[in-house]
Structures are given as structure tokens and as C-alpha cells.
Symmetry: C2
Subunit: 209 residues, 2 copies
């Protein structure tokens, strides 16, 4: 079933079963996960759907910037995000960041950023290793921009963020948290053997419209 032409890795015998598990079993609960509807993982043949599923189901990831503190070295930082209220995702990741933290400072100097998500913490990879290509991974690369706090987009983003991260609403005002978003220019998705899936930002953003 759904065995792509590009199948390269071994251990193929166990895969239909693993895939079936990923598709059929209810995902186990993971500590600390907020109340997001746990949709089923799309099939590997549905690349845009899988990327959007990962973005909708996760609540945190790693934002990588060019570090001004570290002479231009890459710097990955754990951040929370939301791409929409539960059940109504739009694919664009919004963040709530403060310049007390290096990530926001870096982005204000050099917008080039990537945002990386793994399927592993969702609990749907079963016993498959986090680096196994069937345990999906998504890297969105683009520009990290401040969202004008008076814009309608800021209202949408706040609703998206605060619905998935309720404690954010109470974070201290004097830390000057602002909403940032990733303007996606490039998508790297691995969800099966055979290398990254080609998906354009418009295929990703238009999925489900």
C-alpha cells in the first residue's frame, strides 16, 4: 500500500504494519499536550496534508536564527507557536516572543529563520526512531517578521496563540512580548523513504481551502 517509487531504506517488511498503526490507532496522550483535536495522520502520498497536519498538531518547535551573539552561527531555540485555533489551522506559524530572548533579537537583525517540527512528540511514531524517515519532520524556512499589533492579523494570531497556549495571555507586560510570524519561502518535509517531498509554500498554504 502506498509504497512510493523512491523506496530506499530497508526494513520494508514491517512498514505496512507501522503505517497502519499510525493511521488507525488513536494517538496516545502525551503529558502537557493542550486540547487540540487529534486528527489522524495523512498518508505519505499526501505531502501537503502531512505538513499541515504536523503544523496543526504540534504546539512547539525549534526556531533557528543567525545568531548575532555568536558571530553568525546558527542558533536553535525552543518556542511555542500556533497556526490557528484548534480545528482551524492556516499553516502560518505565529509566535509570541520577547527581545529579552536572543531569537527575537536575531530576527530583527537578520530575518532569515527556519522552524522545525517533529512528529515524534505527538506520540504517533510508535516504536520507530525519531530519525527514521517515516517519523515525519518538517522544516519551514523563510523570514521571521513582527506582526503589527494593531492589524487584524495580530488579533487572529493572538486568538490562535492564546487558545493553544492559555498561559501566554498572563505573561508579564513589561517583557514586551510581540507577535511574530514566519513568512514561508521553502518547505522541507520528510515523511517517508526517498528523500524530501517537493512542496511549494502555496501548495502548503492552500491545502484545505
Amino acid at each position: 500500500m502506498r509504497s512510493p517509487a523512491g523506496l530506499r531504506l530497508g526494513a520494508a517488511a514491517a512498514l505496512p504494519l507501522l503505517l497502519l498503526l499510525a493511521l488507525r490507532l488513536p494517538a496516545p496522550a502525551v503529558a502537557g499536550r493542550p486540547l487540540v483535536a487529534r486528527d489522524r495522520k495523512p498518508a505519505p502520498s499526501e505531502a501537503a496534508a502531512t505538513a499541515r497536519w504536523l503544523a496543526a498538531q504540534n504546539t512547539w518547535g525549534v526556531l533557528s536564527t543567525i545568531s548575532s551573539d555568536l558571530s553568525g552561527a546558527p542558533f536553535g531555540n525552543v518556542v511555542s507557536y500556533s497556526d490557528g485555533v484548534p480545528g482551524e489551522s492556516h499553516g502560518i506559524p505565529y509566535f509570541y516572543l520577547t527581545t529579552l530572548d536572543p531569537t527575537a533579537r536575531d530576527a530583527l537583525e537578520d530575518e532569515r529563520t527556519s522552524f522545525t517540527l517533529s512528529e515524534f512528540p505527538l506520540g504517533t511514531c510508535g516504536k520507530v526512531d525519531p530519525e527514521n524517515p517515516t517519523c515525519a519532520k518538517l522544516t519551514l524556512t523563510g523570514k521571521l517578521k513582527v506582526v503589527d499589533h494593531k492589524s487584524p492579523e495580530a488579533d487572529l494570531a493572538k486568538t490562535a496563540l492564546f487558545s493553544k497556549h492559555p498561559e501566554m495571555e498572563g505573561w508579564p507586560k513589561n517583557h514586551h512580548f510581540e507577535i511574530f510570524k514566519l513568512e514561508i519561502e521553502n518547505i522541507f518535509l520528510i515523511d517517508w523513504f526517498g528523500g524530501p517531498k517537493p512542496i511549494s509554500p502555496s501548495q502548503y498554504l492552500d491545502y484545505g481551502r
Copy 2:
């Protein structure tokens, strides 16, 4: 208890309880986690211990490189790693990477790399948000180097990797996986309010010796 001088964020009332939960309760199981001894989280006053605990307890993270495919933009990628066999960690993260993947290719052109870990997937952050500073995050920045496959270090690294990631041993030979390690030059740890904890690589690496 253990309230640092640098306490800046609010919601302090709930924190002793949260901390107690993190320290006293057995951590819940997380799907797909391998059989690593689940030591208790060190107190926030023990910065090097906390950083080493995060490195020992996690099995995957995000490696960020300078992307040659994307004109020097940062690129974060989900990877598995090991800093030692279960119960005998040394702090240095070892990876099993192939140049079929951009991360290894990037590192061979520009060694500057960061490796980012979160406490959140361990299940010990309770209901605290992944971006909350009490849910620990660690970024090790340095140089990603190939380990000579004939060296004693390569034997040690393979034992460390294969004990935590048993399926790696069967990954296809024709993908030319090689062992890489991060030579740590800078450590960014957040495990409490008040900003990153100052830890030197030697404080981190010498912990527990």
C-alpha cells in the same frame, strides 16, 4: 524554595508546587521513548546538572546548520543522538548522519552548528507551556565534526548511539552513515526565570566526573 534572585516572571504562587511536581512525581511515559533510566530533574540551582540531565534523557533534538542549499539561511533538522549508553552519559552529543541529508552536507562546508533540546517531550513539564522558562531548554552551539570511524571514540559513540537507537545498526550501508559529534563551544540553558544560566563547556562536560 530555591527562589533565585533573578526571579522576573509572574505566576510565582504556583511555582513551588510545579517544581515539586517536577522533582517528586515519577515522570509519565511518552510513546516511543526508548528504555533510558528516567532520573529525576535536578533543581534549577544546579545548572550544569540540569543541562546534562536534558542531554542524557532526550533521544532526539534539532541540529541547526548554515544551509548551503538555501544561500546561508539557518536550517534546523530533526535528528536522533546519544551522549552515552543509558545511565552513563558524557554530555557530548553523537549523531549518525548521511550526506543524503542536507545537515551533514552543510556541516562539511561550514561546521558551525547548534543543537537544541527541550524538556517538554520528556513529559516532566506538567501543564507548563513549552515556552515557559521553567520547562527547560538547552542549546549547545559549536562545531559539528566527523568522528574518524577507526578511532576508539567511534566505537564509544556507536555503542552510545545503538544502545538508545537500536534500529540505527540496521540502517542501509549504502547510505554511508557516519558518526558526527558536536564540539561544544557555547551553552544556552533556560530552566528558570531570570534569563539563561551561565555555564561553560567545561562545567558542563566535567559534571559528575
